[in-house]
Point group: C2
Chain length 191, copies 2
C-alpha cells in the first residue's frame, strides 16, 4: 500500500504544481531593479492574469515634445483583485494586484480592407495594440503602503523602472478615485 | 495504510478539481440556444481566459441606420489558443477557442479631469469599455468545421445567438486572414 499512497501524493503534488504553472508566478517579482519609493520589482507572470477592462488614451506625449499619443490599454488583475471587483467589495484585500498594459495604437490596411469588403458602406476602421510602451502595477499592502492609500505603484518600460519623479505622481494622480479605493478602472461587464 | 492512500487520492482529486474551478468551465457550453450553422452555444467561463489583444472599431452601425459605432474590443483565448499564439504555431490545435468581447466606448468627465490635473497641458482623454454589446466565439475543430477552415463561429448578444444571415458572413469575412489560420487578431506583446 505504501506505493499506492506515494502515487496518490505524487499525483496531488503534480496537480498542485500544475495550478502553480497555470497561474504563472503571479506574486513573483523579478530579479531586476525595483521601482523607486515603493520598492516593487517587475511582476513576472502578470500577462496570465484576467481581464478587468480596456481603455484608449489620446493626447500629447509626455516624453516627446509635441508628439501625438494614441494608446490602447488593458488592465489585468490577479485572483484577489478579480474576486474583489466581481464581488464589488472595497477596499481591495492585501495581495490584490493590478497591471495596466499600454500599447501604441496601430492599424492595418489589409484588416480595414477586409472590414470594408465584409461590411460595405459602413466605413469601419479597426485599430489594435501595436508596440508595447510600458506596464504599470498597483500592489495592495495596507500596512507597507499605509501612506499611499494601501497601494504601492510601479511603472516599467522594457523591464526597467521609471524615475522617482514619475513615481511621485502616482498616488496624487489616483486621489480622485479615492471612493473606488484609488482604482480608476471599472470592471467591464461580460457580454 | 489504506487510509493514507485514500487521503492521497483525495488530495489529488481535490487539486484537480481546483484546477477545473480556476480555469472556469472553459469548454462548457451553456444550456441556451445554439448559434445557427455551427451549433455553438454560449461558452460559460470565457471571461476567465487570458488576454490576446485589444482593438478599437469605429464607423457606422450595422443595425442602426446612420448610427455611429465606436467600440472597444478585447480578444481572450483559452489555454490551447494562448499557447499556440505564444509559440507562434499554426494552424491552431483542435480545442482552441477565442472570444471577442465588444463594448460601447464611453468616457468619464471626472476621469478626464483627473488626467488634466495630473498631466496638465497634454490634453489627455481617456475612454473605456462601457455597456456590453456582444461576444463572438471561434472554436477550432478541424473535422467538424472542415468546410470553414476548421473553425466554428458564433455571435451572442445578451446570451442569445445572432441570425443565420449574420453567421453566414463569419467565414467569408475571415478569409483574408487565411495565412494566420483565419484569425485576424495578433498576439499583443507583453510590456
Amino acid at each position: 500500500m505504501r506505493r499506492i499512497a506515494l502515487v496518490g501524493v505524487g499525483v496531488a503534488v503534480a496537480a498542485v504544481a500544475g495550478v502553480a504553472v497555470y497561474m504563472g508566478s503571479a506574486s513573483g517579482q523579478s530579479n531586476g531593479d525595483a521601482a523607486p519609493i515603493y520598492g516593487i520589482k517587475y511582476l513576472e507572470g502578470y500577462r496570465d492574469w484576467r481581464l478587468i477592462s480596456i481603455k484608449q488614451l489620446t493626447g500629447k506625449q509626455l516624453t516627446v515634445a509635441g508628439g501625438e499619443l494614441k494608446q490602447l490599454r488593458a488592465q489585468l488583475g490577479n485572483d484577489l483583485a478579480i474576486m474583489a471587483l466581481r464581488d464589488g467589495t472595497l477596499p481591495f484585500p492585501d495581495g490584490a494586484m493590478i497591471a495596466a498594459l499600454h500599447w501604441n495604437e496601430v492599424s492595418s490596411d489589409a484588416d480595414n480592407q477586409a472590414l470594408a469588403a465584409g461590411f460595405p458602406g459602413l466605413g469601419l476602421k479597426s485599430s489594435f495594440a501595436g508596440d508595447a510602451v510600458n506596464v504599470q502595477f498597483m500592489v495592495k499592502d495596507s500596512k507597507k503602503y499605509a501612506a499611499s492609500g494601501g497601494w504601492g505603484f510601479a511603472d516599467f518600460t522594457n523591464g526597467k523602472p521609471g524615475s522617482e519623479a514619475l513615481h511621485e505622481k502616482c498616488f496624487p494622480c489616483h486621489q480622485p478615485a479615492k471612493d473606488r479605493d484609488y482604482v480608476f478602472t471599472r470592471y467591464a461587464p461580460t457580454p
